[in-house]
């Protein structure tokens, strides 16, 4: 990656004798959304906090838009926007005051476009304690974007949100990406990562277990693709194994196979349907999900 804005090499972070992050490496290209996934305690938040300059690393090197988070915190603050996993503002602070305050400290003028875009115009006179969880998240996102950062860090941005607020926030993250802002996203939510991220890394016990695009990560696993078929006559096919695919069962009129080579299996099935003089009514090819891949990795880690 030649245009990497986030570079992490051999990052190590210890808490006393416990090593939370054990020498991880990754790069994120400009304008991409990079997801850090993993179970609780995997080291996601610690990694992000080192990048945000909130924690001192114990080894390795980091760079965010050319700034070393450990050495150039002032420069970092100009280039980085952060929405923390657990952050708050004083309960009696009004939304307008929060925006004014952060603008003043960042040395930027008030961005009306952000207020309109994130739909917080109606909230300006409200106190922070009067906002809903979703409104608070939106406000923190606006605060993180006030300095027009090159890199935006989002730590569990949709945790605790209802379906509607979650979808709205996803839409906002997509529009942030369209502006060319690089996004680092830590999440537990596999479907969120699949939906939003260009690249992901799954962290387990402080190490990157696997990384790549969501498609690459899921296809690299041992989970098979499920192929389900319903035909008009329903009389053909012996319901047995096909080359490279294992027959699983018959359910609700569908025959189901598990295949490690979906393309070859589908070709073979279609050939057999023709031979039997039947007609395909419905054919479903279900790739293993990121969640299945994640569980597989977790299982492997336990062994």
């Amino acid at each position: 990656m030649s245009d990497s804005v986030v570079l992490v090499k051999g990052l190590v972070k210890r808490y006393g004798s416990y090593t939370a992050v054990k020498g991880i490496d990754f790069e994120v290209a400009r304008g991409r959304v990079f997801g850090l996934l993993g179970p609780n305690g995997a080291g996601k938040t610690t990694t992000l906090e080192c990048l945000e300059g909130l924690r001192k690393s114990d080894g390795g090197s980091m760079s965010i838009a050319g700034c070393d988070p450990q050495l150039n915190k002032r420069g970092l603050r100009r280039k980085l926007g952060v929405q923390l996993q657990s952050s708050s503002l004083p309960g009696s602070m009004k939304v307008s005051e929060a925006i004014e305050l952060i603008c003043a400290w960042q040395g930027v003028s008030l961005r009306q476009d952000l207020i309109e875009k994130f739909n917080i115009g109606d909230l300006l006179k409200k106190q922070y304690s009067q906002l809903s969880t979703g409104q608070k998240r939106r406000l923190h996102l606006v605060l993180a974007l006030i300095n027009t950062p090159e890199v935006l860090v989002l730590d569990e941005p949709t945790a605790g949100l209802d379906v509607g607020s979650r979808a709205q926030l996803h839409e906002e993250i997509r529009s942030i990406k369209k502006q060319g802002i690089t996004v680092l996203l830590a999440t537990h939510d596999m479907s969120e990562a699949e939906e939003l991220c260009d690249n992901i890394a799954i962290l387990i016990n402080g190490r990157i277990a696997v990384h790549g695009s969501p498609e690459q990560v899921t296809s690299a696993g041992n989970s098979d693709t499920r192929i389900r078929l319903r035909t008009s006559k329903g009389l053909l096919l012996p319901g047995g194994d096909i080359d490279g695919a294992t027959f699983v069962n018959v359910k609700d009129g569908y025959l189901e196979w598990k295949s490690c080579d979906a393309a070859a299996t589908v070709t073979e099935i279609l050939k057999q349907v023709k031979v039997f003089g039947d007609r395909v009514e419905d054919l479903r090819v279900e790739r293993p999900s990121l969640e299945e891949r994640f569980l597989e990795l977790m299982e492997g880690e336990k062994k």
């Binding site: 603050r77 005051e97 305050l101 400290w105 300095n147």
Partner: protein, 248 residues
């Protein structure tokens, strides 16, 4: 600098909106002042003359020692410090703004007590008004320093309340603001001299009201100045070390 003053202005306004702050900084000290003003004026003629000084000591100790640590602990516990830090507001600015804002609120309450005491209860106007305010400002600084230190040092709200009570109650009972300290047993008299309230009362009596004092009033003022400097150094030191540990 502009950002700092903007923050100070917002903080001051926020505290006026906050019920807890209003209670600690204004309501409780002023209600206590009005009640004790009536009691003192009828039972102890000497206390009545220096009512403004006694009640100012009470109000400042109440506001700074009991009230000031709470918002700092809340900010530490709720992640506000971290949110401020990642948005470019340094921790030391948070501490400074809280200290100055508390100073302004308590100066306002002290001014109310100073003006109302002679009008409502016929208490004496200090003979040296400049020195009255010098003592007042130094005493404010000591107590805000203590409040900031408790806010930075306490592990949680319950610890902070405990620390605050350890300072607040003896200040009230052993300094001489409720009854003459000379009535106390000797050991308590000496114990009372650990607390800034005792030195503040002696300074007010000797320097502002020009009355006889148990201790050298100028020396007491010097002790207060040293205490103020010490408490601010301790508060900043403690705050810096918890910022490292708590990653604020």
């Amino acid at each position: 600098m502009n950002a700092f003053f903007k923050y100070l202005f917002i903080q001051f306004k926020m505290e006026l909106r906050d019920k807890g702050t209003l209670l600690n900084f204004y309501l409780v000290p002023l209600v206590f002042f009005f009640v004790m003003g009536s009691v003192f004026s009828s039972i102890n003629p000497f206390m009545k003359t220096t009512l403004a000084a006694s009640m100012t000591i009470y109000a400042i100790t109440m506001g700074a020692v009991m009230g000031a640590p709470t918002p700092i602990i809340k900010m530490r516990e709720s992640g506000t410090m971290r949110a401020f830090k990642v948005n470019g507001i340094p921790g030391i600015a948070v501490l400074s703004v809280h200290a100055i804002s508390t100073f302004l609120h308590l100066l306002l309450v002290s001014a109310i007590i100073y003006i109302v005491s002679p009008l409502a209860y016929g208490s004496e106007v200090p003979k040296n008004q400049v020195l009255y305010f010098v003592v007042l400002i130094v005493f404010l600084a000591v107590n805000i320093g203590i409040g900031m230190f408790i806010g930075a040092a306490a592990k949680g709200q319950s610890f902070a309340t405990m620390f605050s009570m350890i300072i607040f109650l003896p200040s009230l009972l052993l300094s001489g603001i409720m009854f003459p300290a000379s009535m106390l047993p000797k050991s308590f008299l000496w114990l009372g001299r650990i607390f800034p309230a005792t030195h503040a009362l002696q300074s007010f009596y000797g320097l502002a009201y020009k009355t006889k004092t148990d201790l050298n009033a100028m020396f007491c003022l010097f002790v207060l100045i040293v205490m103020a400097a010490m408490m601010f150094v301790l508060a900043v030191w403690r705050f810096s070390s918890i910022r490292k540990n708590e990653q604020m």
